[in-house]
Amino acid sequence: MTQLAVRDAPLLNVDNLVVEYGLGNKVVHAVSGVSLHVARRETLGLVGESGCGKSTLGRAVLQLRRAKSGRVLFDGEDLTAMEGEALRKMRRRVQLIFQDPIASLNPRRRIGDIVAEPLIIAGVKDAAERKRRVIEVLAAVGLDPDLVAGRLPHEFSGGQCQRICIARALVLNPEFVVCDEPVSALDVSIRAQILNLLEEMKARFGLTLLFIAHDLAVVKAVSDRVAVMYLGRLCEVAPSEQLFARPAHPYTALLLQAIPVPDPDVRPPESVAIGEPPSPIAPPSGCRFRTRCPRADQQCSAEIPELREVAPGQLAACHHPLA
């Protein structure tokens, strides 16, 4: 392989990943055969409703939850086969930002120590060097290091705590960051600040992002491509503009219709969704969306639809995609 081909290869390649949880004597089919890739310096948005497996997928990518089968290739290396020290080394390159910024900071530790901890774990022994990097990253996320480093998490608002979490995730100069609902716990006015900050950090540090959220408008604001997930499977993957302008999967179309629009002239559509999502313990046969889909027929209950290209760059897993 030439040097160029290596550089163009996706940074992350998820291949037929299956993750299951035991629940008593039952099995929760959280992720059932998901394949996707994220190119270098790309943001892939991952949307879906609660329980669709999007967070589990994010965690399985980072090996915080081990997959039952399938592979996660990061920069060509299979993370699912790694253990111990090798995995720990790899984790310096991949980081995670959680939904609840306040709960993900230890309330008894000072901000400076919280942000320095990844450096200690990574073996940066020089205290002056650690301090320099903490100051640099705190300033980068818009906090004054002199004012915040000595304080405790309870002295900060939710938005500021999320800035601290971002600083902690970035202090090791990772290449890849999984953002799991990073703004859904924040107020509208703060949400915009954090989304702008993530975009700025992505450009400044050359990051590749997997951005998980349930809010389609938030996902569109930051993503180059978007993957839509339903009950453990991908429904559709497409470049952002294309997905929102011409959804191919009926579930994507339904999600788009259900969003309340802040414009009184846009009448809210009456009852766009049929029923509720089925349980991931006993997912429907064939297409998992068929029980709520207006286009479902015999074929949908008999055959699992494969993700296939319906338009250039646009993949959909549907027997009857929208034109």
């Binding site: 006015s189 915009a192 389609l216 788009l256 259900a258 009184p264 809210p268 009852s271």
Partner: protein
């Protein structure tokens, strides 16, 4: 126009904290006619939930409430506890954000529904049971008879919220207060619940207050919107007028900060800098002034009062209102 069902006059709520009194609601006036929907919009800590608790007389024990809450001709602030109890659930109902915590986890759905119906409508058990089944069917619950014997944990979040709505509607209330009724729910379920509330409201000619942080939720569903910031109503208008021509810079900034589906990816959002003021340290001037791009000298020195715009019913509290005349913006 019919006389208002609910009139809130000069309501203020103060909560004692170790750092001094926190003014959660700062002299609010509102009114609502029968059959109409009022949306109260604001970010967390703006006082919208405390205001709803003041209407329901469900404030924390230590809270200090002043002003008048006139409901159906009676001042709720001065009503005896027993009369208040009879009024709540019967004429004045509420649906909370989290249906898991508002339902009792150790009682069946049937017990919880029938308890309310028997208590307030004085029906016997078979009649109350029949009515419970009708109510569950009306809020879109399949196989309502079987649901009566189930416990809340056996239902999904959307189902639980439907049950909470059924309980709230069980005594044909005149006013329903829905406090972030869909915030805990998924977007496809949110649309169903909002449709359900709108349908039942029309059918029952009930007044409704929807409290939310999401301007999108009120845009299509409220007749009138009140925007709250730091304990005060800073703008209030018929929904169409508010979205067409808002006068308060905070309303404009709040709407602008929401990511829009029609915007191209990677477009920087017009974020509001800073954060809301500390409610235990009230500002002398306009509470939004430190974050406002139009703020000038007077904004930091005096509090702007709510005053009328050119459209009747449109009020705003700002010294430098925007979009005041056609084609002009301050």
């Amino acid at each position: 126009m019919s006389p208002p069902l609910l009139t809130i006059e000069d309501v203020a709520v103060e909560l004692p904290t170790p750092r001094g009194d926190l003014r959660a609601v700062d002299h609010v006036d509102l009114s609502l006619e029968p059959g109409r929907t009022l949306g109260i919009v604001g970010e967390s800590g703006c006082g919208k939930t405390m205001l709803s608790r003041a209407i329901l007389q469900l404030l924390p024990k230590k809270a200090k409430l002043s002003g008048r809450v006139m409901f159906d001709g009676r001042d709720l602030v001065r009503l005896a506890p027993e009369s208040l109890r009879r009024l709540r659930a019967r004429d004045l109902a509420v649906v909370f954000q989290d249906p898991m915590t508002s339902l009792n986890p150790v009682l069946t759905i049937g017990t919880q529904l029938m308890e309310t119906i028997q208590e307030h409508l004085e029906l016997d058990v078979p009649a109350a049971r029949k009515r419970s089944i009708e109510l569950l069917a009306a809020v879109g619950i399949p196989a309502p008879e079987q649901r009566l014997a189930q416990y809340p944990h056996q239902c999904s979040g959307g189902m639980r919220q439907r049950i909470a709505i059924a309980i709230a509607l069980s005594c044909e209330p005149k006013l329903l207060i829905a406090d972030e009724p869909t915030t805990a729910l998924d977007v496809t379920i949110q649309a169903q619940i909002l449709d359900l509330l709108a349908r039942e409201q029309r059918r029952r000619h009930m007044a409704m207050i929807i409290i939310t942080h999401d301007l999108g939720v009120v845009a299509g569903r409220a007749d009138e919107v009140a925007v709250m910031y730091a304990g005060r109503v800073v703008e209030r208008a018929p929904t169409q007028a508010l979205f067409k021509r808002m006068h308060m810079p905070y309303t404009e900034a709040l709407l602008a900060a929401i990511p829009k589906l029609e915007t191209a990816p990677h477009t920087p959002l017009p974020a509001i800098s800073g954060r809301p003021p500390d409610p235990t340290r009230p500002l002398k001037g306009c509470s939004f002034a430190p974050r406002c791009r139009y703020a000038a000298g007077r904004c930091h020195a005096a509090k702007p009062e709510l005053k009328s715009a050119e459209i009747s019913g449109h009020l705003y509290a700002c010294f430098h209102p925007i979009q005041m005349a056609e084609g002009m913006s301050a």
